[in-house]
């Protein structure tokens, strides 16, 4: 059973913005690294690799956000860095947020 509280408990939010081509692999890997879920939306933007305007297939970007515990958040960031930063258009960041049911996002190791 999940422990539920009525004030928000600390949790990490990882956000990764990258090429749509890697959505599926990224999702699989994030789950493997201990996340229990993720949310994806379609975005466009600009960065070091120039404009990605989502005008057509190869030009689409996605934004993935993952609520998880701190350990998982670091694992995800480091995995993304190692695997994708070099060859793919990508940015990633982590933020501190609060959730009502922190157990839902904790990795059982």
């Amino acid at each position: 059973m999940e422990a539920e509280t009525h004030t928000p408990q600390p949790c990490k939010l990882v956000v990764i913005i990258s090429e749509a081509a890697i959505e599926q692999s990224l999702a699989d890997e994030v789950m493997q690294l201990g996340a229990h879920g993720y949310t994806v939306s379609d975005v466009r933007g600009q960065g070091r690799h120039g404009a990605r305007s989502a005008l057509w297939g190869a030009d689409r970007s996605i934004r993935m956000e993952i609520l998880c515990d701190e350990e998982t958040s670091l694992a995800i960031l480091q995995h993304a860095e190692k695997t994708y930063f070099r060859h793919y258009a990508m940015v990633a960041y982590v933020a501190d947020v609060g959730v009502l049911r922190p157990a839902k996002f904790k990795h059982q190791r």
Binding site: G50, L55, W56, A58, D59, H87
Partner: protein, 312 residues
Amino acid sequence: MDAIPLFFVLGFVARLARSDLKIPGQLYEALSIYLLLAIGLKGGMELAKQDALALLPQAMSVLVLGAIIPLIAFPVLHKLGKLDRFNAAAIAGHYGSVSVVTFAVAVDYLIARGIAYEAYMPLFLVLLEMPGIAVGILLAKMGSDLRKVRWGVLSHEIFLGKSMVLLAGGLIIGWIAGPAGLEPLEPLFFDLFKGVLCLFLLEMGLVAASQASALRTSGVFLVVFAVVMPIVSALIGTVAGLLIGLSPGGTLLLATLAASASYIAAPAAMRIAIPEANPGISITAALVVTFPFNILLGIPLYDMIVRFAHGS
């Protein structure tokens, strides 16, 4: 005058002039799903009229054609163009594969001039989609430890990419359903085809112009390659067409397929299979230079070549 290339020009000019005209992303996807399915269905329907077995030798030759082109392109790009192995292989793969829209424009060119062609040509289009990409990927991986390559992922990417599924799926459905079964689908998939093609070309014009600035940084070599390579490929395609006994119309289509470079299926597959390659380079070559070259100048040029070869 034929309206099709004008839509490309409209898109290109609108974007260069920084108009806010855009084709929404999902409309773009809807248009490509439609075009791929329609071409597959058309080809399958014609196949149903043929003795499919009799086409086997031709089909095998076409597969070989698709593998040869990147093998020619790769050393040129790597040695002459000084591109690293990954980029050279990725670009070679794009030119080994084909452009569905260029094919459709060439078909339209023939119809407008009343030139006959083998109606099962879309079968060859489907066959040519993959081998070029596969060879490109192999070329990229040859340097690295081949045991580390994830062949499963790669072949999945090649055979189950959505272009392939729609083209081959349409072909098989058209084949099974036959002309009678497809008749009620004609108003959507055949009558509207050319109009939808125009919308797609409008979008391609917008996209090409949006990538055009990359030309400045891409260097002269790439531009020359993107014009000369199609001509070389068209010559090879013409020879192949003669060898397998195609009509002049069919030969022109095969030459155009050879000359065309993929900018839908190949970029998607390459991005996964050869992450080291810069997608900007291959797309600039295939879409900004080769595609307009083919639809505006190439097809008439290949027509002349084919006529000459066929001695007519």
